[in-house]
Subunit: 459 residues, 2 copies
């Protein structure tokens, strides 16, 4: 895409040391954690809100696409500049500005890495509950833009639930504060949570006020093996139904186990599904709930199970689950990680449908995920260099999305629509719903310069 950028003006805004235009850098910044690729025209590293505001005024006046970026770990093409333009890399706005232990709040810049925040909070007895798998490198700004989830979402909710306020720069350069430092807030529209999950299409986030929680006294884990995914599914449902409030209720199918075994050497008994649970809270309550969990395992015909004796053993138990994505990405030349989510009672049926789709096309699909909230990650494994496989993989993806929607689910639980699910967005949402969302987009970004082409495709 040919765009005429006034480099001099941009230099005046952020300084020459805060921009990249070298063709090699442009290639480096042309993708995220998906297969989407598109080169931006320039990468800008703002260091202040004021710079972001001036940048947006310039971009707005010249109709230049602006794409925000954190660590680039998005799984939906979020930070890829599919229409070219400016990538605003927020990693130099990475200060933790305030930790308010009196009110369980932190104020951060968008480029703060999750792990850095965690390290800051831990000695204070606090934590920020949303815990995406990319937590070692993902940024808070990226988490907010994509409304990231994680394993603990089953108990603690997703990023949106922990955002109290946002400072944003709007498309026209206006700097606005949305939300409040109070737990309850009924003063006007909840703009800050509208921005959460809007994938960079409504505003650029320059500060975030986050709610944090007291660290639980203890955390323990358990692992159980089942003959079928259905039994595993019923087991997880029971843990929710009986109020055990697991802070983790993960599942992996046989194919995922095989990949993990190959990748890590961890072995699994002969079984069709494994469930990994975490319980947190005070230690007495954990003990009590673990007993109920054992009962539930037995009632649902667990082949065997193991309960961690301490936090070290608990971490070991989670090791296999943590390895799932990496293991699968090396299992076959191509891995496409999807993110369908269904009502929890429909999880066993969704697994069945995935198996059927896999058989129908002869394409491997490994499934793992956050079963406690119905959020599954089917991984389509194939070789994109074999045209026939590539074609089949597309059909597989299509059928997976349609199955999720058929079960009253959604095409994405925590990764966002980005550019990889645009077609299905229009199937999930009625024309009236899409029109209303487009009206919101147009209201806040009349020239369609904020991450254009995402969610809705062409406007």
């Amino acid at each position: 895409m040919t765009l005429s950028l006034d480099i001099k003006t941009l230099e005046q805004i952020v300084g020459p040391e805060n921009m990249l235009t070298d063709p090699v850098d442009l290639v480096v910044y042309s993708s995220d954690a998906t297969h989407t690729k598109s080169k931006p025209n320039i990468i800008i590293f703002p260091t202040t809100t004021q710079q972001v505001s001036e940048l947006m005024k310039y971009a707005s006046a010249n109709r230049i696409p602006v794409v925000p970026r954190g660590a680039g770990s998005s799984l939906s093409g979020g930070p890829v500049a599919i229409k070219g333009g400016i990538i605003v890399d927020f990693t130099r706005m990475n200060k933790i500005l305030n930790v308010d232990t009196d009110n369980f709040e932190v104020l951060v810049e968008p480029g703060v890495v999750y792990k850095t925040l965690e390290k800051k909070l831990k000695p204070l007895g606090l934590f920020f509950p949303p815990d995406p798998s990319s937590q070692d490198w993902c940024t808070i700004g990226g988490m907010i833009a994509e409304n990231a989830g994680g394993m603990r979402a089953v108990k603690y909710g997703v990023t949106r639930d922990w955002v109290m306020g946002l400072e944003v720069v709007l498309a026209n350069g206006d700097i606005a504060w949305f939300g409040s430092g109070t737990y309850k807030f009924a003063s006007g529209y909840e703009m800050h949570r509208l921005i959460v999950g809007s994938e960079g299409t409504l505003a650029l986030i320059t500060k975030a006020l986050l709610k944090v929680a007291p660290l639980p006294e203890a955390r323990l884990a358990a692992i159980a093996y089942f003959k079928t995914l259905e039994e595993a599914g019923k087991c997880v449902y029971e843990t929710i139904r009986r109020g055990l409030q697991p802070s983790g209720a993960e599942i992996m199918d046989r194919l995922t186990m095989d990949a993990v075994s190959k990748f890590t050497g961890i072995t699994f008994p002969e079984c069709g599904a494994v469930v990994v649970n975490e319980l947190d809270g005070d230690s007495d309550s954990i003990k009590k709930r673990l007993k109920i969990l054992e009962e539930i395992y037995k009632q649902n015909n667990a082949i065997s199970y193991k309960i961690a004796k301490d936090e070290e053993e608990a971490e070991k138990i989670f090791e296999s689950r943590h390895a799932a994505y990496s293991a699968l990405s090396t299992y076959k030349p191509t891995t496409e990680l999807e993110d369908v989510t269904v009502p929890i009672s429909k999880v066993p049926e969704m697994f069945k449908r995935i198996e059927e789709i896999s058989r129908k096309y002869g394409i491997m699909i490994a499934a793992f995920g956050h079963m406690g909230d119905g959020n599954l990650h089917p991984n389509i494994l194939y070789d994109e260099n074999i045209p026939e496989e590539k074609e089949k993989a597309e059909l597989v993806k299509d059928e997976i999305f349609r199955a999720a929607l058929d079960l009253k689910g959604t095409i994405t639980g925590e990764h966002g629509v980005g550019c990889s699910k645009i077609k299905f967005f229009g199937i999930e949402h009625s024309p009236c719903s899409v029109n209303a969302q487009k009206a919101i987009k147009k209201a806040l970004d009349p020239y369609n310069i904020l991450n254009p082409g995402k969610i809705f495709g062409e406007m």
Copy 2:
């Protein structure tokens, strides 16, 4: 306001049995639970979404204001037709359409009364956590429109946190579904939660998909008396800080206690503040947490305290707090209930400011509220028939709002802006923030027919 309504068309839409035009009815429908008064031109009782859609098409074509109404228990003027027009009374759309115990979800029409839903859920071991004081008569639609809170919000959050999806009718008559039946949802903008708390200004709600929770095994309560509001405030803070997760952390000042005594005969020891706590969960955990609560009471110099032995005693303990609003409304000829909310660490300071304001103007202010989330209800007590008092009350209100904002609070935690706090909305939010919110309003309601005049005043 003279509006020319085509009664014939309206009759065709809802049937003559579903409308009121009698002048007496118009007077009855001219107010809510505030002092705001304004007569609508007609009251319509739709019974189907289709009727609401046709109604909006008519109203849109003819630029007629439309004001949704549930039980009329709003505390901010929400359902008052301050520009005249049509009041859409949703009380005849009052069916519980589905209770999905497998997925902890219920689908309801907006006119369902909270208490009716509670009665339906209780035998199933479920409950809908938001618990406004008006729960005996308020409707789910009204709760959603105002993002109602309640005593248990300190643990369970407010209405917004429990809304998974909404069917709405937009200003142009379009019927749209926002949200999903899944716990995680990252597919486009979170429109349903934007509608929550939008006070009828963005869309009319015709169905709501709500998340419900398993009923806790037990609930117990405790009451403690303190010499000062500050000690009481510190005590509540400690219960949060130490992770006790109270499902109620209420406070009342001396004036409120006096009013309650006069109204109910309940007596209080000599003290400056009373704290009422609820703990829920499994009974072992409650026992354990009650011990810590006792410690906290002692450490914060409680004059005395009492822990309920059973649920009956617990209900008795809460009786005084439940009576607070009614008691105060009869204490003086005029009561204005406000709803300021501050960060929890600022609650003691907010109480101090309220006392100072009261002394400065010689106007009684009784304060009670949901201390655990910083949500206070100062009640300005005076006689509106005495011009001098009325004038002073206005100044008192002004100073209370400014004090809350000065302490980084908000003008409303759970009642909404409505028409009673418009002036202060523009003080709380910067012009850029207000403009962005107005842009959203214009995008979804270009002719400003949905509850016009609310939140922003003139557009």
